[in-house]
Symmetry: C2
Subunit: 355 residues, 2 copies
């Protein structure tokens, strides 16, 4: 119990703290936003917040076998994705990421502790954090109670006082926009989980979809730009449009309507669905729509905004993204998230996909 696990734990923790400290400090000069933290390896890390800011605080856990498999996740992409998932939460408030803490449950597999696995993982994690102005300042390591790796990242960001964008601010009549295609990451996950599908999909499509799952980029610049424009509500597409819009609807006490005929379906999603149906020998007409509505982890941003400001936000988003954002629908009085097919309205609140 505590006695027997401690020596190994202590050893790994000390070694990892030294690694983290080296990596974190080596990367520190690449951004001037955050003054270097003190106290890494101490009881707490100590950082100096910028005056006139509120703090944004978020955390996410990913477990081997539930959220990722090491069979298709390289340690570099694993580090990057852990960072991106959390960075995206800061983006979804309109904030600037600053300081991160890592909790690791490491399975009793000493290869992983000794090998280059952790070197490469920390490289991915620290570089991705640094790319968006954040820095790893500490953490905790324990030996896992199972044979699976589990990682939690907590991230603190800053935003000018009063400028945070909540899920709860949507107004009736608001237009709903999305920063990019959805469903691609979920197609990528299906491919990675079912490699026998790979040969039915053209190479560039395969690569695009898999990378969308393995290596998503958080929309930090877009989030800060939108918070300045004055969007009414903001969220990232982590659980899929249907769930994420249901959150906005619930928190704002409104109904979100998505119009099927304007829903953006990317060419890659179409190509994937064609190949999937061909392989299964079954024509699933609604498959692209299901991926687009219910597929998670694209980490795009969804915002609602008054029609008066919508065009300005569209221009700002186009400048940041390089492409025009997509109009999805409208907020109305009522509750839930509905798909308007032109013929009827279907309740899709918090629905996930099942194949």
């Amino acid at each position: 119990m505590a006695e027997s696990s401690r020596p190994w734990e202590l050893h790994l923790e000390l070694e990892l703290i030294k690694q983290i400290r080296r990596k974190a400090l080596a990367l520190a000069p690449c951004h001037s936003l955050t003054r270097p933290p003190k106290g890494i390896g101490d009881d707490c890390a100590v950082v100096i917040p910028n005056p006139g800011n509120d703090l944004l605080i978020t955390t996410d856990t990913i477990c081997e076998g539930i959220h990722f498999r090491l069979s298709y996740f390289s340690p570099l992409f694993l580090g990057r994705k852990l960072a991106s998932v959390n960075l995206s939460d800061i983006a979804a408030m309109g904030g600037q990421p600053r300081w991160a803490l890592l909790n690791m449950e490491v399975p009793p597999d000493l290869d992983k502790a000794d090998s280059s696995f952790w070197q490469v993982f920390f490289k991915g994690l620290c570089q991705r954090l640094c790319q968006f102005g954040a820095i790893l300042i500490g953490g905790d390591t324990v030996s896992a109670p199972s044979d699976r790796l589990s990682l939690s990242l907590s991230l603190i960001g800053e935003i000018k006082t009063g400028m945070a964008c909540y899920r709860s601010g949507a107004k009736p009549g608001d237009l709903i926009y999305c920063s990019g295609y959805t469903g691609e990451a979920a197609c990528g996950l299906t491919l990675l989980e079912n490699p026998e599908l790979m040969r039915f999909i053209p190479g560039p499509v395969r690569k695009r979809l898999c990378l969308k799952h393995l290596d998503p980029l958080p929309r930090i610049s877009l989030g800060t730009a939108l918070s300045k424009v004055g969007v009414n509500s903001l969220i990232d597409t982590s659980d899929g449009i249907a769930s994420d819009l249901a959150h906005i609807a619930e928190e704002s006490g409104l109904r979100a309507i998505v119009f099927q005929d304007i829903l953006p379906v990317s060419r890659a999603v179409r190509a994937f669905c064609r190949a999937y149906c061909m392989k299964k020998g079954d024509f699933l007409q609604n498959l692209p729509l299901e991926y687009v509505l219910f597929g998670g982890e694209d980490f795009e941003l969804i915002w609602t905004i008054s029609p008066k400001l919508a065009k300005i936000a569209e221009q700002v988003a186009t400048e940041v993204l390089g492409i025009k954002p997509f109009l999805l629908g409208r907020m109305e009085k009522g509750k839930g998230c509905y798909l308007d097919t032109g013929l009827k309205r279907i309740d899709i609140s918090f629905k996930g996909y099942e194949h």
Copy 2:
């Protein structure tokens, strides 16, 4: 994989977020230190830091089967201990705890999710946080990759800019003090892990030792008081005197000397060791000393201070604690942590106990 685990995960997460929000907000008015946070259940929690403060950031993970067993940890004590372990890290910098995030890996045992287990756990967690001026503002829940519960708490504190007390500040000639008896929590753990020993120990001693392990209190008031007095270094006794002083020695580039003849051994530790030896039929002369030096998790504070200021710190500590703190030894040039027995000096750096 992701698909199959999501519905349950999502359900649990939404339900727990609602529970957390209710509990956290219900407890919010009991302290006026922190303005109520916004954004619980949003992508991030949003809090307003106090101007003129640095942030202290820490995190700790505890796993069932490694750090605790549910056979002797009630959910109330589990919640309290998770809070205390993290609060103690803030105490060890001299700071004031403010905002906490909880990451949970919940085993696929729906009883736990439905029953009063979580109600009571959150009561313990939120009350203990609140007792020391902190508030739970968010977190993440995933289904565990094993059948064991795993909990991480991340805690953010504040301290007046420049006032944080590090492990690295010890000076040669500094006196080393400790706020209370050590070894008691480790005796308690031995008892809880070996219930057959219980009947050899008087009831009040048993209770004291077990509670020291199950329900330790962080030394927040003492930490803030000591930071104002101007201690040179500060740490909490989480890994045992030998390891914790070795940290101060390493980070300060010095040697820590502990004098055996002044080491405080509590009556409870003596009574436990007598009973332990009687049960084993073996006289282990060094057993109390081993518990005092190598037993962890007492969460007392150890500080080093110049001899000139030592008396003032002693008075301040006595006022806060109600008892005099214990003098343990002295910092010298050199490295490592040594026990001075009067006859020789023994290197005890980072040593843990093994029975």
